[in-house]
């Protein structure tokens, strides 16, 4: 790369190029009918460093989920499955908000193994054992309780978590909302 500063004419040409590309990006975004609505969503970072923990399930996912019924507030794929009957990722993990004490309690009860130090992802590109992926917090997110007694984040918070974890995915959000229970 040359150390010579770009001339003003070169900068102007680049500016026009950027504007043209940006115009295309803008049009692509606006192709999605939900573009404006999704601008109002503040993405929430479920896998926040320092807060997120992951440990392999030592029992079947269903059993762990039920064992944590009073403790966990499920979100992302787990909440989608509970609310709509279908998830959106392949990995059969459990994803939810827990207190640190509840997470440690799950380990003591033998529901999960030793927490892992890396590899945090809800959508890994490789096969791995099912995990409990927990966001540890003493301030629970807004939630609703299902007839089963299990708690899930509110629909609005689920959308925030999806965006904060997977990015803006209008295809996924549209599919998810089509299955939203009335």
């Amino acid at each position: 790369m040359s150390a010579r500063p770009r001339t003003t004419a070169e900068r102007y040409a680049r500016f026009l190029r950027d504007q043209e590309v940006h115009r295309r990006i803008s049009l692509e975004r606006r192709m999605h009918p939900r573009f404006r609505r999704d601008l109002a969503v503040v993405p929430h970072l479920f896998l926040l460093p320092g807060r997120a923990r992951m440990a392999a399930l030592e029992r079947p996912p269903e059993a762990v989920r039920l064992a944590l019924r009073g403790e966990a507030i499920w979100t992302l794929d787990t909440a989608a499955r509970l609310l709509t009957g279908q998830g959106f990722v392949v990995s059969p993990d459990l994803t939810g908000y827990l207190t640190e004490a509840a997470f440690e309690g799950a380990a003591k009860q033998g529901l999960i193994g030793t927490p892992l130090t890396g590899g945090l992802s809800i959508d890994p590109l490789y096969h791995r054992p099912p995990m409990l992926i927990a966001h540890l917090t003493d301030v629970p997110p807004p939630s609703t309780t299902l007839p089963s007694g299990e708690r899930v984040v509110t629909w609005e918070f689920l959308i925030r978590d999806v965006m904060g974890t997977l990015g803006w995915r209008p295809d996924l959000l549209t599919r998810l909302e089509a299955r939203r229970p009335s």
Partner: protein, 233 residues
Amino acid sequence: MLRRINESPLGTRFILGGSSGMYGVSETIPALTEDIDVMVDADWLAAQEDTVLEHMRQLGFDHQSGTPTFTSASGLSLDLVGYSRRDIADRIGGGKELPVMVFADLSRLLSLPGPTRDLPGGGRVLSPATLAAAKLLTIRLEKGSKDKLQALLVIAENAGDDVFLRHLHDLLGAFPVDRVEDAIADAHAAVLAVSADVVAAGPQAAGYAGMHAKLEQGFAILQRLAGRAEARP
């Protein structure tokens, strides 16, 4: 060097802006640049080109011909960025030797109330709301995310300042709705990119987590100011 520029006759004509404008509006938000951007009235520059070149030479700057860039022996690089009080259009302005880009958005922002504030050591800098609006509206493919993130951090840092919030609201209101929508969408994309970064960086990136909380706060305020916020859970 900035102090010397501000003490020179150019001090009243130059406005510190761009990422280097961060030095004038915040002590905590990283400027992420060592180069200096100064805003200048391109029409005045066209008339005073020789004088500006001479003052800059006296200050120890070499001009790179055909560019808006000056460099000093110490390695400092200073770019002139144009605005106009005559028109609101993207174009090349300034002089023959010293041409500068003239930005329509910057010209509009600087024509609105409260565009600058005085620096304690002399000189002027874009006011925090004007700097935030400029960065939100700036279109740069390679470095666009940096602009949006800095804007959101400025907004978060001034979250409790009603004057700032009202000013930013008014500035955004001076632009067409689709431009503001695009600015919010670009900021959205930048926040999402940082989210991915935070996750990829892993637990060692504790600094990222704090920054992300501020970005979330700044983004929520931006939505509210632009009338885009929904009732939150």
